[in-house]
Symmetry: D2
Subunit: 145 residues, 4 copies
């Protein structure tokens, strides 16, 4: 994933892992990253003027998650401070990916990597090719325009 | 609660409400504040050198939540930015309260108030009077020493 | 709360506490009950034909949570099985309460009690008196008709 | 994944999607499956006598999640009833997978598939080959002994 890691960071949140994020062993609860990924991705799109809940009305299409995955690379623990980085991943014809790196602040260790595959759909949820205006955004976010 | 509102703010987090925090009407999901309150309170105590999971070993007592409550005062919505403020509440002989104000950044409206009643307990979870060293901290946090 | 405890149980869920519900001490994470309370209350109303997201359109009013509170009475632990019971609480003129008891299956200990205060509101979120049709439901649920 | 789908179902939970599980469009919030997958997998292991938090002490090894992924195949909606099925997936030399199918009760549609890759580790979190006693369990769970 070197190529993706070289792409510009689009948005970050820095959070400190708390009790809700960790299990009785004091290690990250594996489901904890997903809501944080969603909050980062949604805020980024919101700040770009692309509120997901307005897309159908404004543009005639919207986006849904088709797949998500996360790899846990190092043990993250209670009270660790972690920076979540959002970057553009693969851009296809009817889907694209946001990729995430979770970097522990103290030692710069990448504790997790994740990605979220998004598809563009019509109002009735049929898959549609990525619209041109969105495609331009994606290329710009990938640093490729 | 005027008196409490005049007490010093001990710690704050500013968060933007995202999809996980809101229900299908786009209004705050009522359970959404509690994990955010916990994260704020736990980080404050951690930064004060009082990691909750080290208290028994270091001091021979620890703390558990005995009660919590939240009042929803104004509709908070998807993408609202909200500052959560932590203050000291009532200090009793074997319990004390942390109080929380959720203030919407845009218009300074208090959208919610909450409190968390904490009791000090022995290792086997029997209630004990607030230990002197903790009591000193509480008075200082209340701005009363 | 004896009177309320004598009221009929409207709905129950039995769940086993898992890692997401407990903190590093293996004790219930204090925010864990709220989403389970919501799921129980919402399913009850759904099964009664009162889907919350259809109320405005069908009846011209809907409901929002005004306050919630929870008292933690006994330590609930990882893998405890707990039955959450829903009962009708106080019925006022423009608000009513659902009350919840969390009973550990193994020893019948009430580990927590909680309540959720609901207000009836107009589409623009102004408080309105409880409509007659809803009021009849509430009395029936309280076992008082 | 036909082969895996033919393996025996090890454990199931049936849940009704509620407000916490859905986003403002009334569609499944993409992070919602993960805590439910964890609860199903953890309860299964608990009922098999393999409480994850006792493994180190009893056996000298324990397990951590190395990766997880979920594919969203059909739109799941507020109040849909869904059965989550747990099956054994691929068994390697130092890792194995649990696989999950989420089946909507009303129409038997598979709304999501997911998997959780687990590795066996020493107390200091170094990867170790799957111990013999666990390996026997895995083969039995896969229906292959």
């Amino acid at each position: 994933m070197t190529a993706v890691d070289d792409r510009p960071v689009l948005h970050t949140h820095t959070i400190r892992l708390s009790y809700a994020d960790t299990d009785p062993a004091g290690i990250l609860y594996y489901a904890a990253w997903f809501p944080k990924m969603e909050a980062l991705q949604s805020e980024f799109l919101y700040l770009q003027g692309l509120r997901q809940d307005t897309l159908i009305e404004r543009f005639g299409w919207w986006t849904v998650s088709r797949a998500t995955q996360c790899d846990y690379l190092a043990a993250a623990r209670l009270f660790d401070e972690v920076r979540i980085e959002l970057r553009m991943g693969r851009i296809g014809t009817s889907s694209f990916r946001f990729v995430f790196r979770m970097v522990r602040i103290d030692d710069d260790v990448v504790v997790a990597r994740a990605q979220n595959t998004v598809v563009t759909v019509s109002p009735d949820q049929a898959s549609v090719p990525i619209p041109d205006d969105l495609h331009s955004h994606l290329l710009r976010w990938a640093g490729e325009e």
